[in-house]
Amino acid sequence: MRALLLSMPVVLMLAVGLAFPAHAQFAGVGRDATDAEVKAWDIDVRPDFKGLPPGSGSVSAGEQLWTGKCASCHGDFGDDNHVFTPLVGNTTAEDIKTGRVAALKAGGSARTTFTKVNTVSTLWDYIHRAMPWDAPKSLSSDNVYAVLAYLLNLAEVVPADYVLSDRNIAEVQARMPNRNGMTRAHGLWEVNGKPDTQNQACMKDCQAEVKISSALPDYALNAHGNLADQNRTFGAVRGRVTDPKAAASKPAAAPANAVVTALLGARGCTGCHGMETKIIGPGFKEVAGKYQTRADVKAYLADKIAKGGSGVWGSAAMPPQAQLSKSELESIAAWLAAGAQP
């Protein structure tokens, strides 16, 4: 009897094995990946450069790509902080020698990407998988080498005539300014890591005096909007009225405006334009204000959005917005002409 019981699963396994590979515990579920599929998706580049594709790019080629695809967010020299934290800056020739960025200890200065990143593989991988911001994974391997070469030159890690490639990238790693600036000696990584604070659950007379060391000033209480509007209007507590003007009720936004503002987000417009003020391009309210008296305002703006342009609001170019349908263009133009109400 015992022998019979033991043998039954074996018989079942044999039967399954006829239809499915011997390893498949979950018959009929999933399949093996093809080599081409793995190659298409296995894009990560490790600190030991496993995964780095062959190729090369020069600083000068990178500069051209940078001007066209990167500078509008990161600035011509990678040090702009209007959209993202600066990539370059606050590293020194001494840091390149020691592999520790002194500014991180000194404090006070902005933490740029080059002050932190310890592995050049990360930068290659980052640019390749996620850049440019609005068109990730659109750069060829050689383009990535070139853009990274330009960045490394801005950070004074490589000279202006450098050609970065899979063959010399290890030399660059040996010059990364913060290559020795990371530690895993802490308790927050291993499953059983040891905590670095040791509080006690004291219950009575734990301290003699309590002193307030920090609080919000009154003028900043409304910085996040009227707090009364961020709590229920019934229950155990109310939100504090931090904006006296908010006591007057606001008229509800017209549904048509909500449709357009949703569209602005869905079509990527809000990546560059703030509702009120400039991000990369001008704020929608600013555009509305500038053109409101123009007789052909709707047609003019629809045409501008469709074709893009530069020079009116600054040097950053707005690319043509081919993703917008004609009716979407007209809705956005009409909304701008009516004052860009949220």
Binding site: D44, T122, R129, A130, A215
Partner: protein
């Protein structure tokens, strides 16, 4: 005061700046809120502002004469035919709940696709966050992935690289588990000083949900992963940012899940529809959304969000890399900063506690800024690496108070004070701030965010 400090908007652009020393001195001199207010008048004002013309009905309204008009005169909903079933095929909150929504912190980021929206913890109950109020953190915008075209690949140190469709994944042995999800940068704006007014902004990168999916160990075994050389996995997203994070194999085999369900329905797009990684107890960035690939490897990957971001700056200038575990933490959600108590008397003080190392063992509450403590009631269930709700009775006598909560987890670890945390990690870490939070109650009933 330095005129530069007077700019409207946030106190700190955050998380790396600090209040000026002169400004802090002025605070100490003038106090935060000396003005005593009339509770009743203000609560009516707030109610009136939101309800716009609705009668000011409240038990607080002293009703002279025969009684409360809302009792004496039947309201319209008692004398009408209601709405039919399925009038709203996917249900919505009451229109009266419009104040409790995800909100951004002005000035925190300049691009809304690489930003954060915070959950309104000040008004939530229990340990499950409504899916529509789950906090958001995206690195390159959110996408709505077509589930029919979504694939999960397992490759690297495996016998057989594998591909699974959603059809495949939803046939595999399923588990449902409740866990908290906290961004490593939660409370990050407060490392140096108080920066934001309410618990939504101090602690709102926190949510709790029931997740349903497949244990990652199931998939790793199906692919025949290398048990000797396979020390780490890389998880990768299918979105534009291609989010990638390294997870140690020991953890990956423990309780990590590949989840498609959240709170009884499919994940919301903002939370990774149709597939995300669930890494219990570990900071949110590792819970890769729109998960497309798991690679098994023999060393960590040093990805963008493990070198350029999510590294914790220590006072000696070293960056802690691969900080992952969210240590025990708690916060009182009501009463909390930016709220006003109605009047003296009884209150149910309530809050949340959680630990990335297991269950919460107890939560103590102080009403005097940490001099004395009382142990709160923990509501069931108390689950590992999940939010735990605590409550405690409080009779407010009208005098100033400083409210704090302090969590202890099952390892015996006690949530630290700001002084203890800063003594080890300084004030520039950005990530993993789990210090005890203080809310100051003024005699006026105003509750404010303070640090002691």
């Amino acid at each position: 005061m330095n005129p530069d400090d007077r700019q409207p908007g946030r106190v700190r652009k955050a998380p790396e700046n600090f209040l000026g020393a002169e400004f802090v001195r002025e605070l100490g001199r003038d106090g935060v809120n000396a003005e005593r207010r009339n509770f009743l008048r203000k609560s009516f004002l707030a109610a009136g502002a939101a309800l716009a013309g609705a009668p000011l009905a409240s038990a607080l309204a002293a009703s002279p004469g025969a009684g409360d008009p809302d009792i004496l005169n039947l309201p319209p909903w008692s004398k009408m035919l209601g709405q039919p079933v399925a009038a709203r095929p996917y249900g919505l909150p009451s229109g009266y709940e419009a104040n409790l929504v995800r909100r951004q912190s002005p000035g925190l980021t300049s691009v809304p696709q690489a930003s954060v929206s915070f959950a309104p913890l000040q008004g939530l109950f229990g340990i499950i966050t409504p899916s529509g109020l789950h906090f958001e953190r995206h690195h390159q915008g959110w996408v709505d992935v077509d589930p029919a075209r979504h694939r999960l690949m397992i490759n690297g140190l495996v016998k057989r690289p594998r591909v699974y469709t959603m059809d495949d994944l939803m046939r595999l042995p399923s588990v449902s588990r409740i866990h908290f999800l906290e961004c490593g940068a939660n409370t990050g704006m407060e490392w140096g000083n108080v920066a934001v007014p309410t618990v939504q902004y101090t602690h709102g990168m926190l949510s709790g949900s029931e997740f349903t999916g497949v244990l990652l160990s199931t998939l790793l075994e199906d692919a025949g992963f290398d048990r000797v050389k396979g020390k780490y996995i890389l998880a990768e997203g299918a979105d534009g940012s291609g989010m990638t994070r390294t997870i140690a194999m020991e953890r990956a085999l423990d309780d990590v899940m590949v989840a498609y369900g959240m709170n009884g329905e499919m994940l919301r797009p903002e939370n990774g529809y149709p597939l995300r990684l669930v890494v219990p107890g570990v900071q949110g960035v590792s819970w890769v959304k729109w998960l497309r690939r798991i690679e098994v490897g023999d060393q960590p990957y040093g990805t963008k969000d493990e070198t350029s971001h999510y590294v914790d700056l220590m006072p000696d200038g070293m960056l802690r890399q691969y900080t992952s575990i969210q240590e025990a933490k708690s916060v009182i959600t009501s009463p909390s900063g930016g709220q006003v108590l109605l009047n003296k008397g009884f209150y149910n003080l309530t809050g949340l506690a959680w630990s990335g190392r297991g269950r919460i063992r107890k939560v103590d509450v102080s009403f005097d800024g940490g001099k004395n403590w009382r142990t709160a009631r923990l509501e069931n269930p108390v689950l590992p690496k999940a939010l735990t709700r605590f409550n405690i009775d409080w009779v407010w006598d009208g005098s100033p108070a400083i409210l704090q909560s302090r969590a202890v987890d099952e390892t015996g670890y006690v949530q630290p004070t700001y002084a203890q945390l800063r003594a080890v990690r300084g004030t520039r870490s950005i990530y993993h701030n789990n210090a005890i939070q203080s809310w100051q109650v003024a005699a006026s009933g105003d509750v404010a965010n303070v640090q002691v």
